[in-house]
């Protein structure tokens, strides 16, 4: 699990061009949106693509993303349960 969390942090920094953020600065339970990393609506859409492309998870309703992308821990938990690749 810890490995997946690190992997997710690296991917998020890379995919969302968070140039000034280090992996060590993202806490496993930190909120990703709002006050946390300050991600926005395009980032949320980008994370939906990441889920599908890298883990083979296709969300039926994009609104589900809101709950899944709450924090690294929640995201890792969801991925480990639903991943197809």
């Amino acid at each position: 699990m810890a490995e997946l969390q690190e992997e997710l942090k690296e991917k998020i920094i890379e995919q969302l061009s968070l140039e000034d953020v280090e992996v060590s600065e993202i806490g496993d339970d930190d909120p990703l949106f709002g006050d946390g990393l300050g991600l926005d609506s395009i980032d949320a859409l980008e994370l939906i693509v990441l889920l599908e492309k890298d883990y083979g998870i296709k969300l039926k309703d994009p609104k589900e993303g809101k709950a899944i992308f709450e924090s690294i821990n929640v995201m890792a938990d969801y991925i480990s349960k639903h991943r197809t690749k």
């Binding site: 926005d40 609506s41 395009i42 859409l45 693509v49 994009p62």
Partner: protein, 380 residues
């Protein structure tokens, strides 16, 4: 300041190859959106509004004075719309007109090709200049989904600045794999014909069309009642590059400034032809802006349910239709609408109506946070 009149216009769309045919179809509430099965655009069937290639080919062969030229579908549609404008108006001398072309993606499908000169938007200006044998190269405006409305505003400003007495605004975009795939990645495409302002709306339907409008400072050129663009303004939300402002700020500013230029109060507007893309956030933002401007009771529709979102053509076509609604004193039902689905009240037109109309507000909003408002007015 000089008055600027909308003298005549022409639309090439799935609802017809003339404004008249388009307007008749709208009055019958016929829609252009249907299930499209075209593997060049998308691997699965989708809902969109496309111009039939055979019909275009036939119409093109009837008018084209250059049978050997290499014209794209979009260029044929644009040239066809201008040719109809010219043939309907013997007094129109296009060589003396300023020309503004409005398009978001032009011939974007060409970037896949080795020879991709046509993917450059200025090539469309060159093509039109060559076809009509013009001395001046038309200007190309590419300003996202407000392009067609902003091009009319710019045409009006060019006339008011005395750069030209007449301006032709040409707008057009195609329904392409490029744009459709992007809107799919935004989770913004409706799985059925789009439903602007409706509770059950889930996103846009895309469409394709071209249109032309003739703007002039010379009232004598008008055949029938005079329709003018009496106010125009554009403002950026300064908020987000893709998400509509939650306060409708840029749209509100645009509406207020356009009303001020036209010397009108919001109560004097008889009809709003909205942007109404049918994405959850766009329609909500518009409802907020209209309420802030005191326009919540004014009858409103979105023509996206008929044409889909035709990008660089949409606000131009919607302004042209507004002119004909003023001339015929009719309001056209906002097709796709069932039950109000925005947090602020707006008065969506559910049935065609006959009503004395004098002033229309046309609005549009787009990526990049841009907004435009036009006041189109019947003059006594």
């Amino acid at each position: 300041m000089r008055k600027v009149y909308l003298v005549d216009d022409s639309i090439i769309s799935p609802l017809g190859f003339s404004t008249q045919e388009n307007f008749q179809n709208l009055r019958k509430n016929n829609i252009g959106i249907k299930e499209v099965k075209n593997n060049d655009i998308w691997s699965a069937p989708f809902y969109g509004s496309v111009v039939d290639n055979d019909k275009l080919h036939e119409a093109w062969n009837l008018i084209s004075n250059d049978k050997n030229g290499n014209y794209s579908k979009l260029e044929k549609m644009m040239i066809l719309s201008v040719s109809k404008l010219i043939s309907n108006n013997p007094s129109l001398d296009i060589s003396r007109c300023g020309i503004v072309i409005s398009t978001t993606k032009g011939n974007i499908g060409q970037i896949k090709e080795e020879q991709n000169d046509k993917a450059y938007l200025a090539s469309i200006a060159k093509t039109i200049q060559g076809y009509f044998n013009l001395d001046q190269t038309p200007k190309v405006l590419s300003n996202a989904c407000i392009s067609g409305g902003l091009a009319l505003a710019i045409g009006k400003r060019m006339i008011q600045a005395q750069l030209y007495d007449d301006v032709i605004v040409i707008g057009g975009d195609l329904l392409s794999e490029f744009t459709l795939s992007g809107f799919f990645s935004f989770q913004a495409v409706s799985s059925a014909p789009c439903k602007p302002f409706c509770k059950n709306r889930t996103g846009i339907s895309l469409g394709e069309a071209a249109a032309s409008a003739w703007l002039s400072a010379d009232k004598k050129k008008i055949n029938g009642e005079a329709i003018s663009i009496s106010g125009d303004a554009s403002a950026n939300d300064a908020n987000h590059i893709s998400g509509p402002s939650r306060t409708g700020e840029g749209l509100y500013i645009s509406i207020t400034k356009a009303l001020k230029e036209a010397n009108l109060e919001s109560q004097q507007i008889d009809y709003i032809t909205a942007h109404g893309t049918a994405t959850p956030f766009n329609d909500e933002m518009e409802a907020i802006a209209f309420n802030r401007a005191g326009l919540q009771e004014v009858p409103l529709n979105s023509l996206k349910g008929y044409y889909g979102h035709t990008l660089g053509a949409s606000a131009l076509i919607e302004s042209i239709i507004a002119r004909h609604c003023l001339l015929h004193n009719v309001l056209i039902a906002s097709v796709g609408f069932e039950e109000l689905g925005v947090s602020q009240p707006v008065n969506v037109i559910t049935k065609n109506e006959t009503k004395e109309l004098t002033r229309v507000l046309k609005t549009a909003s787009g990526f990049g946070g841009c907004n435009v408002a036009l006041i189109i007015e019947k003059l006594a």
